[in-house]
């Protein structure tokens, strides 16, 4: 790779090859990177950064393993998710919309400032998810957080100390219990196995 670009972090400029990711650039610069790397595939949320290119006035967040270095990009690594989880035991009787707020009552304090939506590196409309939670729409919340990588940035920036991603994952778990349909084919199959429907065939297969 012949061309190089200059990136800025830790208060100084560094020259790195073009076409590589921010994480690969750190390796290139001799930094081992243990905290701040997990999957290298854009799904674990360990590698969040803020970055600003020279043409932008505002910085944006990104996943370092999914971001190519650009000339005069300024970047900072962000800390991993440190938000506290509330114990949310799942049982059939909690699968209603009130329970979503029950464990995370501060959710109601949302002042609709959009900070969470703005910061989400996955492009999730986090605030809409929070609004849906306040309105008790479990499946709408669940849908919103499908691609959440649990990086925790939304919770880090919320002035009202709401933990949107925690509410999101809880809503997703709840929504399974609250699902209106029943997975009958699955339950039939379990019965068939338990009542020995396949026993004879197994004997044949295993002895062949």
């Amino acid at each position: 790779m012949s061309h190089s670009v200059t990136i800025e972090f830790d208060g100084s400029s560094h020259s790195v090859p073009e076409g590589i990711t921010v994480i690969q650039a750190m390796w290139h610069l001799g930094r081992p990177m243990i905290h701040g790397v997990g999957c290298l595939g854009g799904v674990c949320g360990a590698c969040t950064i803020t970055m600003r290119s020279s043409s932008q006035t505002e910085s944006q967040t990104a996943l370092a393993c999914q971001t190519m270095v650009e000339d005069s990009m300024a970047l900072t690594f962000l800390p991993p998710d440190a938000s506290k989880k509330v114990m949310t035991p799942l049982s059939a009787d909690v699968a209603d919309e009130k329970k979503m707020i029950h464990f995370y009552p501060e959710t109601r304090r949302c002042v609709a400032c959009q900070a969470c939506t703005t910061i989400c590196p996955q492009g999730i409309d986090v605030m809409e998810g929070v609004r849906a939670a306040i309105n008790g729409e479990i499946s709408a919340v669940a849908e919103k957080f499908t691609s959440c990588v649990m990086c925790g940035l939304c919770s880090m920036v919320c002035d009202a100390r709401i933990r949107p991603h925690r509410v999101g994952i809880y809503a997703r778990r709840l929504s399974v219990a609250a699902h209106p349909g029943s997975a009958d084919q699955l339950f039939t199959r379990i019965d068939e196995i338990n009542t020995g429907k396949y026993t004879e065939e197994w004997e044949r297969v295993m002895s062949s």
């Binding site: 854009g42 691609s147 295993m206």
Partner: protein, 528 residues
Amino acid sequence: MDKIEESKKRVQALRASRKDIKWPLLSEEEKHHLVHKYHPDYKKEAYGKIRIGPNQGEETVREVVKLLEGESCISSESISLTPQRQVDVLIIGGGGAGATAALSVKESGATVLVATKLRLGDSNTVMAEGGMQVAVSPEDSPIQHFMDSLRGGHMENDRTLLKTLVESGPSIAKWLLDIGVLFDREEDGNLSLRAGGGSSQARLLRCKDYTGLELMRVLKDAVLDEDIEILEFSPVVELLTDGEGNCSGAILKNLDNNKYTVVQAKTVILSTGGMGRLHIQGFPTSNHYGATADGLPLAYRAGAALTLQDTFQYHPTGAVYPEAMSGILVTEAIRSVGAQLVNGNGERFINEMETRDAVASAVIRECQEGRGVETPSGRRGVWLDMPLVDVLNGEGILKDRFPNMDRQYSRYKIDISKDPVLVYPTLHYQNGGIKINADGESTLKGLFVAGEASGGIHGRNRLMGNSLLDIIVYGKRAGRAASLRASETKFRELTLRHLEEYQSAQKEAGVVPQLVSPILFPDYVNKD
């Protein structure tokens, strides 16, 4: 670059003419021939003999031989084996198998500690996209699932392990629903099923193309709900034995201060996952940062036997362009809804639903014989024509079903609904591993193994979707069996006698360790 554009134009121009053609499946004989000629598993030069230990005389790739023959960072002189921690069951590795095992141990009432290399959930599990195989549909049965897996595994699967896997599938799926895993559903409430390569029936449960993320998020949340103690950034660097063939604990290394912690445990569950980051035979990989096969040298020098340690899965469709995405997986599920593989001339060359070893071999053949496409950085590949998915299924389907793939490519300004992408096999999965029985116990007593680190279930080639099932089924079984054993056992002596014996075997065989193993991380750091 112009050549690439030209080739891409051909792919697009010929799309309509090939879209409805059903490519014939290979006969068993043709497949055998193709795989033996082109698959990396059959590349003799890449293999070496294991000279010491339980599998002495057998072969595996040189990268793994080196790990097995490596030396420990621990020696009897350098460490006191007085335990700093005592626990009934120690779980090593916090991916899907480890998290499931932890829940299972907790449920049984034993005390449990999870030690993991990065954070809980930073794993191969979180990266899985395509889905998990369970025989659910009325047309399907556990027996068909078994037969498909056996055929896929070249008939070398451990049949007892495989039977247990497929038979437990449905009840495991129910357990996952119970803990709140949001699988895609049909309108009537039934689980939505999709076809996978090498499978005679549609039986992939999934959550869009975020199946692993969904599984791992929920498992992690459930582990936190159970208040299970987790030590993060604390990889295990050596197992401890009582010198009489029982595993009795392990030594963890805190990555932040390099201090060791000696843990005494009645039983140990090893769930350290796969090996992609060894870059076997120079292949790029789809695996997470910590996939360095740590479990293999740890278990092996403590006395546990391996099985099928010579076979690896090279996923046929790893990204080769842009360079920054190299090795990243393009899920097989995209092929199961119609995306076609096309060579540089715009021609198809294989039925996309053959087993992975056959498809990967065919891609390698196309490239070796000059029908591939070269990227600016010198990698080779063939086209995966994803826009066809919308042509066949309706506009918007591709992005709706594969939001993760869309997001990854769009970060590099590639629109997968408009342009085909270049792919080449990527090192993906360790088919074999540490030998276990149906309780997940290895040949070293008290050492249980679950997930990708174990071997036998999948034979010589794992079918798509069988690993996610494997980690939950055997995570649970190992958890249960390890707890039960712990309830009948006292703490055993902590020694490094296995290491001393291993070292003298090394000396006798004239083996000079070339590295310290486990390696924990790949060495990507520039030393200049």
